[in-house]
């Protein structure tokens, strides 16, 4: 059992408020990822949970017990640091047994726990080495091993993979996912990498400027972002935003006229939208289809094409100088400066009001009702 509840948590450094009232519930066994741009407060939030950072106000509960003021040592949480933070003067075995020794466990228990962790993480042959004799990936594994041996209530990860090279990062990501399955533990993970967030999380918490923008499953956030920030932050390449004006509203949706003159009816709730107000249409790269320039009224000029083999990302400029990113098959052949036609899938378009808030989809509204 490890439920974590955070109530109205605030943290300031002098005049600057880093966390501006965080409310969050984390359930047992969940893999929760805090994601956001640098400086959004995600690490501070994690460190506040760990007890390494004093909070200015608010409360943190672990299994209904308040831990806001408790020393980190007494919280029964384990943390994996970005820099690994291994004890350089201790062997791998000692690094992993340190916490257990401090807790006064007997030698036999300690050894069996360390050996068990070493088996899970395949660290067996390295147990007598010092951290300086290990590679980055091995060090990261030791850092994880150090937290596993303790069987903590919650595992905290502070950007654990950002010091690894790309290939190793993918491998460790898979291992972490597997570890979460095997240990069936509650994990909180901080990253600025949205791929890590999407692939690892049961629940993603998107933070921006000290506030939670949205909490939900990766797919929920991907398909139903509540605002432009979340929509733009998740997804690779990013969602394109096209400014326009509302032309008419009806029961079947909102019709917007883009600055290029192209009209599109997006099936979203029209309750809060007035004709004539400014809106942004958001569309993901995979929901734009390139057609022949004569078969669509929406035309653009091909700017750059990035060939990745499996996909080709096309960056196109509409006639009114708006940039749109399009995902096309790997064998797409387009030439620089070529005029193409675009088709937007209205069912997949998002509509954001003047404040950047997403207007709920009609299908979605029906689901909720």
């Amino acid at each position: 059992m490890a439920d974590l509840t955070i109530k109205n948590l605030r943290k300031s450094y002098g005049e600057t408020e880093i966390l501006k009232g965080i409310n969050l519930d984390i359930k047992d066994h969940e893999f929760v990822v805090f994601v956001g741009p640098s400086g959004c407060g995600k690490s501070t939030l994690l460190r506040s949970i760990a007890g390494l950072e004093e909070v200015s106000s608010g409360e943190i509960f672990l299994n209904d017990k308040e831990i806001t003021e408790l020393a980190p040592a007494k919280r029964d949480l384990a943390m994996v640091f970005q820099s690994y933070a291994l004890y350089p003067h201790m062997s791998v075995r000692k690094n992993m047994s340190f916490a257990l020794e401090l807790a006064g466990q007997d030698k036999e228990t300690i050894n069996s726990k360390v050996d068990e962790a070493a088996r899970i993480l395949e660290l067996g042959p390295l147990l007598d080495r010092k951290p300086k004799d290990l590679s980055g990936g091995q060090r990261q594994r030791v850092a994880i091993g150090r937290s596993i041996v303790r069987h903590p209530e919650i595992f905290l990860f502070d950007e654990p993979l950002s010091n690894l090279d790309a290939a190793l990062r993918v491998q460790m990501r898979l291992e972490l996912a597997r570890l979460h399955q095997d240990l069936n533990a509650t994990m909180i993970y901080v990253t600025h990498d949205q791929v890590e967030a999407m692939t690892l999380a049961d629940k993603v918490v998107v933070l921006n400027q000290g506030r939670i923008e949205q909490v939900g499953s990766p797919m929920e956030l991907y398909h139903h972002p509540v605002n432009e920030f979340v929509a733009g932050f998740l997804g690779m390449p990013k969602m394109s935003f096209l400014p326009g004006k509302v032309k008419s509203v009806s029961a079947s949706g909102v019709t917007a006229e883009l600055t290029s003159g192209y009209e599109i009816e997006v099936p979203v709730s029209s309750d809060s939208i007035q004709p004539g107000s400014d809106v942004n249409i958001g569309v993901r790269p995979e929901h734009v289809i390139i057609t022949d320039k004569n078969s669509s009224k929406f035309q653009a000029i091909l700017d750059v094409a990035e060939h990745l083999g499996s996909d080709t990302y096309c960056y196109v400029k509409t006639l009114d100088k708006q940039m749109i990113t399009i995902r096309t098959p790997g064998d797409f052949l387009g030439t620089f400066g070529e005029t193409i036609g675009l088709n937007l899938d209205p069912l997949q378009c998002h509509l954001f009001d003047t404040n950047g808030k997403a207007v709920p989809r009609l299908s979605r509204a029906a689901e909720v009702a």
Binding site: P72, A73, M79
Partner: protein
């Protein structure tokens, strides 16, 4: 035209010669002191100075007859180690809090501490003398230990601070997460990681204490007088005895010189103040 290799070689030779010359100049007084200590008083005064003479141990035996060398040496040992131990007990926690819980006034506090080293000690001689007199600490080892601890503390805190600064904060936080108390965090993680730097801090403190003369001359008479006071006693109203003075100086320098020799690697690292990682 010299090849690159030859030029490098020539450079090494020139630099090496300069280094040796500088080293010889620095070492010459010590060499002359040792040499003089084996001369008779007459040879010591001879003009021109004699490089070759019949060596004698007469000075060394006469020192032991006149005064108990080991009494003074023991005082030096007790006072140096005593004040170094107490100094470290204060400097480590102070540097720990300054390095890892820095506030906006930490830097100025450090500078202020160091600035006290820039004042002439003689300026506070009278008040300290009176304080020592009133508290009965004149000519006591405890008195010297206290005064040495105080005068070396700024440097010890500064050095320890510099070394602690090199240690990633994450590692201490990891220890905290692992359940370490403050004492365990310092004793089991911080100290082992900075033992090289702290060793040089200890060494420097020992050397500074051993060589200190101003306070030991002014605050001690016979009971607590260390070796520096013994040396000074040889330039006395009875006259200046160069050979004996050299002999006693050699005896006073010898222990710390040997000590420094053994630990020179640490010392060099210590004196570079952690500027080079």
């Amino acid at each position: 035209m010299l090849s690159l290799k030859q030029r490098r070689r020539a450079q090494t030779v020139v630099l090496g010669t300069i280094a040796w010359l500088v080293a010889l100049i620095i070492f010459f007084p010590i060499f002359w002191m040792i040499l003089t200590s084996f001369k008779t008083e007459i040879d010591a005064f001879a003009t021109p100075p004699q490089l070759f003479f019949t060596p004698t141990l007469e000075n060394y035996t006469s020192i032991n007859e006149r005064s108990d060398y080991f009494h003074f040496a023991w005082n030096s040992v007790v006072v140096s180690f005593g004040s170094t131990i107490i100094g470290m007990l204060i400097a480590v926690p102070a540097a720990y809090s300054m390095a890892f819980f820095e506030t906006k006034r930490t830097k100025s506090t450090l500078l202020w501490m160091l600035s006290t080293k820039m004042l002439p000690p003689v300026g506070v001689l009278v008040p300290i003398y009176l304080l020592f007199k009133d508290t009965g600490m004149l000519d006591t080892k405890l008195g010297l230990v206290i005064i040495y601890t105080l005068i070396n503390l700024p440097i010890m805190v500064w050095m320890a601070y510099t070394y602690f600064k090199e240690i990633p904060k994450d590692i201490l936080e990891a220890a905290r997460m692992d359940g370490a108390t403050l004492f365990q965090e310092i004793w089991k993680v911080l100290l082992p990681m900075s033992k090289g730097g702290l060793a040089s801090t200890v060494l420097l403190s020992l050397i500074l204490c051993w060589n200190e003369a101003f306070w030991s001359l002014n605050l001690t008479a016979s009971q607590a007088a260390p070796l520096t006071a013994l040396i000074a006693s040889y330039s006395s109203p009875e006259g200046l005895f160069w050979a004996k003075l050299s002999a006693v100086s050699t005896l006073a320098c010898a222990p710390i010189l040997v000590f420094g020799w053994i630990s020179q690697k640490q010392l060099v690292r210590g004196l570079s103040f952690g500027a080079v990682k």
